[in-house]
Symmetry: C2
């Protein structure tokens, strides 16, 4: 059994944390947001700080479970009474994910996307039997790992409106085997990053996948959504780190992947990665691990302009000199981050940057990890290219500060939502050639959509995953919330931004996955025949369409 | 139009070369094989050198084309008269590939696997129209790139015995676009390595994919078979280097891949890679290129034993210190290579190794490429680990000698075949933990199968592609040929070796692909449900089963 903390129902953080105290009358802005930042946001956005707390958890509306008694009996027969739950607590905690829209609904007291039951299989065999039974019973199955999706991956929408269950993978959350010479660990899908790192550390190993959701997300979820982490530039995307996996489907069990590499036909492992629960449930993973780096160094750099910063990291990329972590903020994000960071260090840095003509500059965080000799050679060779590109080294303090706060943003979001703000992110990736166009197009679309009555959004961007051929682009949007139509406000902006980024050559998503939110655009990404190929695979493995029907594939 | 030389019909090398001179009465052993090597092989194998030349090319039997006149008229309507050929020369040159079995057949005068016609589309649109027409006409389509398959990838076998055509991609063999900032080149599938490198060199770029078939194989073929090259440890396998491709199928055209990376669902690009023509024809590729390395260094090392050598490169692998080229020969291959290498250098090296107690040792070739500072740091840090593992550095001469002869083996094979020898290779990959077991199992199986009447095979192995989780294993077998039943002799040995390597945990193929030769084992590799998934995809894209039906999927 997993002893990993659950997420709070209406926001981010472990259950029982501040975000779950209820009701909250006054937003606690002072603690999270220094006064200069509050003044800055109010002026920038035309925002009036106000109290917009969520409803009490006890007041969240939850319809009775629709799971037929006959189906419940079958599931209990397979998994045992304790592993088939229909109680309010269990269902509420598996309702949807953690996108802005998810939080809006939960804060308004809407849990209409909650599953009718929560079941917890303990093995691959139990999961396969469960899927076979649900296929016969006509019960929709939504795999549940950490519940951190930000694209509606747990929406549970079914065109036929059948009853649905969340398959919680918390009982399959341990290390099952460790092959040290081959740098491979076999783990259950419900395992989270902290527990995995804890187990590996005993052997002097690390996994190193560190998305912002690291405290709560699971390895099964990472695989199902093609996650990328903050150090993916160095250690690789999550899909690069999966050497094999077991996929239980309504039609049987697939064992996929043959490390280290194979030329035995098309890549079926790559079909399971990113399948978002539409083909079945991932029940086991073989992951590549590595020795714990014996040295690490995080440092800050500054560039006068976004274009100069991009050109410099593109030079690193083409020369195979990218660091493990690379994060270039545009001037809007740089300015905002420096204002949000309380303390004299940030003030001093602002002064320094202004003095050097970098007042409207872009901050670059680089993180290096590895053997000391290699780290030195890489960072020195890279530094020389960065200086050639106009970069100024700011030293380790900036880098270490970023590292310290790397998982903080989702916590801050709850505070901002309490105070009448809209906060959401979106992301894409493009080739180095297309990236500037994509950047301009997304910003323009968001600004046009979210400007109204003298209020305008703050659109902040950074590049955070570098590749030889291009990079990801991550965009954070903050705006005064439309209290009457908050959902429509964001949906319009998201639609405009997505149309814009696809039109400019970006990909639909670099690491958030498709979910329910992006599926109207999947055909634009992979073409109608591509969608047909995915449908053919789904029909073979899930003939009754019970596996997470609300995501990925368009209706 | 491509001006790339065609391969000779009965062996390796450009058409018109020595291998195509006919008839050959006496094997020219002296030039290719120094006397000590000949004596060594005769003793080791129980082999009597004898003349076993191929039949004259003019005497190869070729059945009349079975392409119906109606079908020919349709194809001519689509592609023009000049691009639909049924002449003997065109058909013979597209008959099969270059495996030992292919060569045996062609040397015996058998061309029963020749296509009924050879067609040459010039564009994606023409290829798609061609596939649509062939699907209606019931004509089997075998894509033809360089014709270098060693696993029966061009066998053209059809359970329904329909007429077949080779789709020669030689007209689609040029660079179509180069995006230097994004390190991406767009090329036609018929392009070969030398021409591609020539075009890229003008821009200071290189592609760097260097399989032994480099002089003749095409990029479309590399993609269709998941090729790996001699420098794949450094630059990546071919599948890692494909950022996108266009696949023309009987059901329409797929545009796959979205560089630099995407989380928009399952990886359809990975389904096309390794599809071996069974889903359609690859008509365009976007490949990742890199700056031409400004420094390179190839060096030799020696280890007392295979186990010590393996352990040492596993240490490099886990510490992310593998060179661009890594090639560890076992003691059988080391001894043979040193005897085959004529000249005083090889003799002196043998003496040196004996003096150091490495008389039965294993040779390791390492190749480093890149920026000078990085090359120095990598090779020095690696050298320290190699010395800790018992390695002795032999210097650059050994490394440079390997580099000079890197494409020679297939030429030598023709000479050996002329002299009564059986010569074939096979390959696999396994995790570092499983590799020693796979190695033992394959050697035992080959020795048992090929030992008869006091004659026994020479089985030589090397590891040539390293990964963090394991490595490839490449095996060369030489034996006295069974002149009565040469095909059965090899088929029995191949069957025994394949059963053995799969049983020990190896993959069916690391870079030769499945073809006709490995397809009986595909189900063991990916499971019956995995085969069903591939069939579902094929049925959607190729409903009439005209796309290379003789390969990949079992009957």
């Amino acid at each position: 059994m997993s002893e990993q903390p659950e997420l709070t129902i209406q926001g981010w953080g472990p259950s029982g944390s501040a975000a779950e105290r209820e009701p909250r009358d006054e937003p606690d802005l002072g603690a999270a947001l220094p006064k200069p930042a509050r003044r800055y946001l109010a002026k920038e956005l035309g925002w009036t700080p106000r109290s917009t707390p969520p409803v009490a958890v006890a007041d969240i509306r939850l319809a009775p479970s629709r799971l037929p008694e006959e189906a419940r009996t079958v599931l209990v027969g397979l998994l045992g009474e304790a592993n088939v739950r229909t109680d309010r607590e269990a269902r509420l905690r598996r309702a949807g994910g953690k996108s802005y829209l998810d939080l809006l609904r939960r804060r308004e007291g809407d849990a209409s996307d909650a599953p009718d039951a929560v079941v917890s299989p303990g093995t691959t065999e139990e999961t396969a039997a469960l899927l076979g039974a649900c296929s016969e019973l006509g019960v929709v199955v939504v795999p549940f790992g950490g519940g951190t999706s930000v694209v509606g991956g747990l929406a549970g929408i079914d065109p036929d409106d059948r009853p649905s269950i969340a398959v919680d993978l918390g009982r399959m959350a341990s290390v099952q085997a460790l092959d040290v010479p081959s740098s491979l660990v076999t783990v259950g899908p419900g395992m989270r990053g902290p527990a995995l790192e804890h187990e590996l550390a005993r052997e002097g190993l690390t996994f190193g996948h560190l998305p912002q959701s690291w405290e709560f997300a699971t390895v099964g979820g990472y695989a199902a959504t093609r996650s990328a982490g903050q150090a993916s530039t160095g250690v690789g995307r999550f899909d690069d780190l999966v050497a094999g996996l077991t996929l239980a489907t309504p039609s049987g069990v697939l064992e996929l992947g043959h490390p280290p590499a194979s030329a035995a036909g098309p890549d079926l492992l790559g079909l399971a990665l990113g399948s978002e629960g539409t083909l079945g449930v991932i029940t086991e993973l073989r992951l590549r691990v590595r020795p714990t780096p014996s040295a690490s160094s995080y440092e800050g750099w500054s560039f006068r302009s976004w274009a100069a910063g991009l050109a410099a990291i593109q030079q690193l990329a083409r020369n195979d000199l990218l660091p493990d972590v690379v994060r270039l903020s545009d001037s809007d994000e740089t300015r905002t981050n420096l204002l949000m960071a309380a303390g004299t260090g940030a003030r001093a840095l602002r002064t320094t940057l202004r003095a050097r003509g970098h007042g409207e500059g872009c901050l670059l965080v680089l993180g290096w990890e590895g053997l000391p000799a290699m780290l030195r050679a890489r960072s020195r060779t890279a530094a020389s290219l960065l200086r050639d590109g106009g970069g100024t080294r700011l030293g380790r303090r900036v880098g270490e500060s970023w590292r310290k706060h790397r998982f903080q943003a989702p916590y801050l979001r709850d505070t901002l939502l309490d105070a009448g703000l809209m906060v959401e992110t979106l992301e894409t990736a493009a080739t180095w050639s297309a990236l500037p166009t994509v950047y301009d197009a997304v910003r323009r679309a968001l600004r046009e959509s979210l400007t109204r009555d003298g209020r305008r959004p703050l659109v902040m961007s950074h590049v955070s995953h570098g590749y030889p051929t291009g990079a990801s682009l991550y965009v954070t949007v903050v705006a005064d919330r439309d209290d009457d139509l908050p959902i429509q406000q964001w949906l319009s902006a998201k639609r405009a931004a997505t149309d814009a980024l696809l039109g400019a050559g970006g990909t639909l998503t670099h690491h958030h996955a498709v979910g329910a939110d992006h599926r109207p655009w999947l055909e634009r990404e992979i073409g109608p025949l591509g969608v047909e190929v995915l449908r053919a695979v789904k029909e073979r493995l899930d003939p009754n369409g019970i596996c997470n029907p609300g995501v990925l594939l368009p209706d």
